[in-house]
């Protein structure tokens, strides 16, 4: 793993989120987030990638305590999972969030200044003039002019609105900013400007990010570590370069292959493996690995509990291909005894 010298700002262990749903007239539950562990060091960005239904946005809301969750969440070393809503309030300002849609996340009837100052009204006892000068300070930080504070959101472009949303999110000087598809609605040029702003804020304010996106190239660009989610579980996690250069989990591999790159030769030369089928019904996930129904390497053992295997170069993959258990082929004979032993262990579990 990475040599983490900076303190951990966020640590979640065994995070679980379940929703009650009705399917075919029956009440059942969807486990939208299933036993997720993650941690973010100060000044670091953890990218979460996954497709629809992977649980990545639910995970963010669970960390923010916008929805009830089970498991432990530590903020700056304090376990906040057991705290009441009132007790948590003091911690809430440490974690702020920026959402995807800059057109619906700002109240159109408030001036930009009023929107950006709102968290100050809730969390501090600042006077009006104090709030005003703080608003101008953060607008400057996100590259907007002070006089924009007196205008209304509809006078601004998508990129500017997202800057306003970021200004509001950082005004309480949080430790962690959760960005949920924060640049997904923007054209590429505007997207890059906002990403670059986020990078410079990380440096200047020592922020950490939990950066959630379906766009793998964007995540690759901004993240230090990356977690890949599928059907509520993290299937692979590790340092960004290792994940993108040497993806270990079959799902990560296929996902990366699916992204069209602006390289006509590459797009036409590679015989792409297209991931067939669809994500399983979340109310009825298969036992063991959630990806087995679509995995080109699926084996019998994949319906057993998923292993956690450390991968050379950092991070983990939750795939039996990386255990000393049965392989598709090419495994040394000597490992056979180990394989049998592991198998027996798993069966007795």
């Amino acid at each position: 793993m990475s040599t983490v010298t900076s303190p951990t700002v966020l640590e979640a262990t065994g995070l679980e989120v379940s929703f009650p749903v009705v399917r075919g007239g029956h009440r059942t539950t969807v486990r939208a987030v299933r036993g997720v562990d993650l941690s973010i060091a100060a000044g670091e960005t953890l990218g979460i990638v996954g497709e629809s239904g992977s649980g990545k946005s639910t995970l963010a809301r669970a960390v923010m305590r916008l929805i009830p969750a089970e498991g432990a969440v530590e903020l700056l070393g304090t376990d906040v999972s057991g705290l009441s809503e009132r007790e948590f309030r003091a911690h809430r300002r440490k974690v702020q969030m920026v959402f995807q849609d800059p057109y619906s996340s700002l109240n159109p009837s408030l001036t930009v200044g009023q929107s950006v100052a709102e968290p100050l009204k809730v969390h501090t006892k600042m006077s009006g003039p104090e709030r005003r000068s703080r608003v101008e300070e953060v607008l400057d930080l996100v590259g907007l002019r002070a006089e924009f504070a007196d205008r209304y959101p509809d006078e601004f472009s998508g990129g500017q609105r997202q800057r306003i949303a970021i200004a509001r999110a950082i005004i309480l000087e949080p430790e962690i900013l959760i960005c949920d598809e924060a640049v997904s609605a923007l054209d590429v040029s505007t997207q890059n400007q906002v990403l670059s702003l986020l990078e410079s804020l990380r440096e200047r304010l020592g922020l950490s990010y939990l950066f959630i996106s379906h766009d793998l190239a964007v995540v690759r660009h901004i993240s230090d570590h990356v977690a890949v989610m599928y059907l509520g579980e993290v299937l692979e996690q590790g340092p960004v370069d290792r994940i993108f250069e040497r993806p270990a989990h079959p799902y990560t591999q296929v996902l990366l292959e699916a992204v069209p790159e602006p390289e006509p030769e590459l797009q036409r030369s590679t015989t792409k493996r297209v991931l067939e089928g669809e994500i399983p019904d979340p109310t009825n996930p298969p036992p063991g690995c959630p990806f087995q129904s679509r995995c080109p390497f699926a084996m019998d053992v994949c319906s057993e509990p998923m292993p956690v295997v450390e991968i050379e170069g950092g991070g983990i993959s939750r795939c039996h291909l990386h255990t000393s258990g049965p392989r598709l082929g090419g495994a040394p004979l000597a490992s056979l005894d180990d394989a049998v032993a592991t198998q027996e262990q798993q069966e007795t579990r």
Binding site: E51, S52, S157, G159, D187, V188, S189, T190, N192, Q193, L195, S196, H214, D215, L216, A217, V218, R220, H221, D241, F244, V254, L255, L256, E257, A258, V259, P260, E261, P262, E263, P264, E265, L266, Q267, R268, K272, V274, L275, E276, E278, I279
Partner: protein, 329 residues
Amino acid sequence: MTDPILEVEDLRTEIQIDGRWLPVVDGVTYSVRPGETLGLVGESGSGKSVSAMTLMGFVGRRRGQRLSGHASFRGQDLLGMSERDLGKMRGNDIAMVFQEPMTSLDPSFKVGNQIAEGIRLHQGVSRDEAMRLAIEAMDKVRIPNAKVRADSYPHEFSGGMRQRVLIAMAIANNPALLIADEPTTALDVSVQAQILTLLAEMRDELGLAMIFITHNMGVVADICDRVAVMYAGQIIETGEVRETFADPQHPYTERLLASMPRLRGERRQLEWIPGTPPGPAGFAEGCRFAPRCTHARDVCLEPTTLLEIGGGRANRCTRDVEWKEEVAG
């Protein structure tokens, strides 16, 4: 080489706002041959969708809108055609697939019936025959268990499967031209890959000509043969995809490609184009990209033309490729 099936010449779509006529699409010229895919690429507001909507009669024919230019499809004049005749052609010889697979389907009808309805309308076959053809089309777009799935409602399908339904609907009447407007933009990347593969297969199997509208240069690289890059209502560069990507002739194309965050290779500093694309009320005199272009000179204030430069390529940059000498490295 076969003759183009569609030839668009100097297409202009204007919309009246506060008494002023604004050119949303301004002098667009392109053609597509059977079996060929032309990519129309650009940022939001570049006019890429409106140009296609104009051909289909959705824009340019109402009050406060006007159009000019020529568009000939198999020798027929699309722009001069009556709404009635154009309506017959849509969904028949010319089919369309849009971005939002949820809103393009009627939630209260079974998908089999929705596909069959289009077939009956255009082919005048019996109800049973139309349903048989609908299921055949669903089969063709690899919807598993098509016969059973025809009896399902749109909400019972995933986003990717709904997009397959729309493609089934589009190809059911054996079109010659398919206009696909951001058909994979709302989809997950693995589903996008499935749909791109399917569209390429349909094109090759049926010999379709395809216009593929997208903002994603990666998608263009994947599926298009030729590309027309649009900015502020105009095509600023056009050519074969490989050549255009390898050696862009217009600074905007070069910047757009340089801005794409990449999945492979070294992680580099992100690049972007300063400012935002102009709206039709704010188009600059002369080159419309000049206000954001680091290579702009006085000469860029002169009116521009899309000049053919050989090899099927054309470039609107007034400075030709002179600007390239100023690109570092």
